[in-house]
């Protein structure tokens, strides 16, 4: 469905991704794990076109995403929930959702469907996004992305700074999206928070995808997590 073919990406002169490759299958949750600075966030940004790909290519079906300007990528059905949420804090909850709806010309019925997943946002539509609690902001960030009705969802550390009950809520949402057929790439530091919903895990090190394994493999090979992330299950 989405395939990343040996891409190189740089921040100025610093190379962050080196021949990075990835294959996302339809309807799966693929978790990217790796230490800080391994290139996980850059990989998501490269898919979104926010970091220029200097070599290699990114394909969604037959469409070469890496050849498109950044604002065209979400119109192909790829939604992004950035690290730290990056909400438009000065805008209302309704306006943040409206920006998501505008991307692919979706209307009010889509917003209502999305809000069924996040009922807490219903009562806060006119509230400024920056005044929501951390958990509510994460819900809004996901809701805004889902307003695109995406086929592929990129989630960058969605559980960062959340309390356990909210982490469970995020996990439930990811599981629900998988049931609805949305393919997800999930970047996480908290291994325990995401493994229950992941289908496969890709280990990133020094800008390369070292290994992609089914999540079950982690149960038999505990050394994998130690080797690439430095923690146990």
């Amino acid at each position: 469905m989405l395939s990343v073919h040996d891409i190189d990406c740089f921040y100025d002169d610093v190379q962050v991704l080196r021949g990075f490759a990835l294959e996302l299958r339809e309807g799966e949750v693929l978790c990217l794990l790796g230490r800080n600075g391994a290139g996980k966030t850059t990989a998501l940004k490269a898919i979104m076109g926010l970091v220029r790909v200097k070599a290699g290519k990114i394909l969604l079906g037959d469409t070469e995403l890496s050849a498109l300007p950044p604002h065209e990528v979400p119109k192909r059905g790829i939604a992004y929930v950035p690290q730290g949420r990056r909400l438009f804090a000065e805008l209302s909850v309704a306006d943040n959702l409206e920006i998501g709806l505008m991307t692919r010309g979706k209307g009010r019925p889509v917003r209502d469907t999305v809000l069924e997943l996040f009922p807490v946002l219903h009562a806060r539509l006119n509230q400024r996004a920056g005044t929501l609690s951390g958990g509510e902001q994460q819900m809004l960030a996901m809701a805004r992305a889902l307003c695109l009705e995406p086929d592929v969802l990129l989630l960058d550390e969605p559980t960062e700074g959340l309390m356990p009950s909210m982490i469970a809520r995020v996990r439930e949402t990811i599981a629900e999206l998988r049931r609805r057929g949305v393919s997800t790439i999930l970047v996480e530091q908290r291994v325990d928070a995401v493994l229950p919903v992941a289908d496969r895990v890709a280990f990133i090190e020094n800008g390369r995808n070292r290994e992609t394994v089914p999540v079950e493999a982690l149960r038999t090979d505990l050394d994998l997590l130690h080797r690439y992330v430095g923690v146990g299950v």
């Binding site: 604002h71 950035p82 692919r104």
Partner: protein, 293 residues
């Protein structure tokens, strides 16, 4: 004349200054607010608007309103097209780097100024007002045109607020202003937004210039004062804040009008500069601006 009517006259003059200033400053504020560019050439877009208004209106014989109306439509369009071209050819190539764009817009300032000197000449020239009605107060008569400038400015400011607050274009613009990268991730073409904002900013300055040119003559050096006053207004009001721009323009315009009439124009400028210094010390983000996170 007694003090009361004299104060009323000074206040009316101040209102006209505030009306023109708020339009000019709004253009500068929009460009900085959305693009984070300090457009030093903004005053030259104002000057160009005035010079073009003269060039367009003067050859039209007959009713002066006809020439003025044509100037009001064509001059901002030409200035907007020039701004669009400079955005594409200069600012975009510099990737909107703040320091580089300051130097580039200083260059644009001199190019536009020298082009005006070459083709328009060093003389100051007036455009005839579209009408010469007078509003008769008990103590004095006052130009109906000047009051219509205030009305036109209020209408345009309201229109701008409506576009920013109530339309999809306004939402895209505000999203770009708050976080350009995330805006792109939601399909907003920020290059096009930047292009449009730079052109609209210049067009607002040109509209202000067309409005003022029947009151104040067009001259190739006339861009400097509006540029300095606009900077004063946007610093006091808060860069990127429409409400701040209006409030600061009214304060600066009114005080300029009243202090100039009762004391001296120099004192008005000294006080405005002092006010800017105080704002920079005690509230650097401006009265209505948001502190940088």
């Amino acid at each position: 004349m007694d003090f009361g009517p004299y104060l009323l006259l000074a206040s009316l003059e101040g209102l006209v200054t505030a009306a023109v200033l708020s339009l000019t400053a709004l253009g500068l504020s929009l460009v900085f607010g959305v693009m984070r560019i300090v457009n030093v050439a903004h005053g030259e877009f104002f000057m160009l608007g005035a010079v073009l208004a003269w060039a367009i209106a003067t050859p039209i014989a007959g009713n002066p309103a006809l020439g003025f109306a044509l100037a009001m439509v064509c001059s901002p369009l030409v200035v907007g097209a020039m701004a669009l071209l400079s955005e594409r050819l200069v600012l975009r190539r510099l990737k909107y780097e703040p320091e580089a764009t300051i130097v580039a817009t200083i260059g644009m300032l001199y190019i536009i100024q020298q082009l005006a000197l070459t083709f328009y000449g060093p003389d100051a020239r007036a455009v005839q007002a579209p009408f010469d009605w007078r509003i008769q107060f008990p103590w004095f008569g006052y130009s109906g045109y000047k009051l219509s400038v205030v009305g036109a400015s209020i209408t345009l400011m309201l229109l701008t607020w409506l576009v920013l607050a109530r339309t999809r274009i306004g939402l895209m613009l505000r999203a770009t202003q708050y976080d350009g990268e995330t805006a792109q991730a939601f399909g907003i073409p920020i290059d096009r937004v930047y292009c449009g904002v730079f052109a609209v900013g210049a067009m607002l300055a040109a509209v202000a210039a067309v409005l003022i040119v029947p009151i104040q003559q067009a001259h190739y050096l006339m861009g400097l004062d509006p540029l300095l006053l606009s900077f004063i207004v946007v610093i006091i009001g808060g860069l990127g804040s429409l409400k701040g721009t209006v409030v600061a323009a009214v304060v600066i315009g009114m005080s300029d009008g009243i202090i100039s009439v009762f004391f001296s124009p120099t004192l008005a400028k000294i006080l405005a500069t002092l006010l800017v210094a105080m704002v920079l010390v005690y509230r650097p983000q401006g009265l209505f601006g948001k502190a940088v996170r």
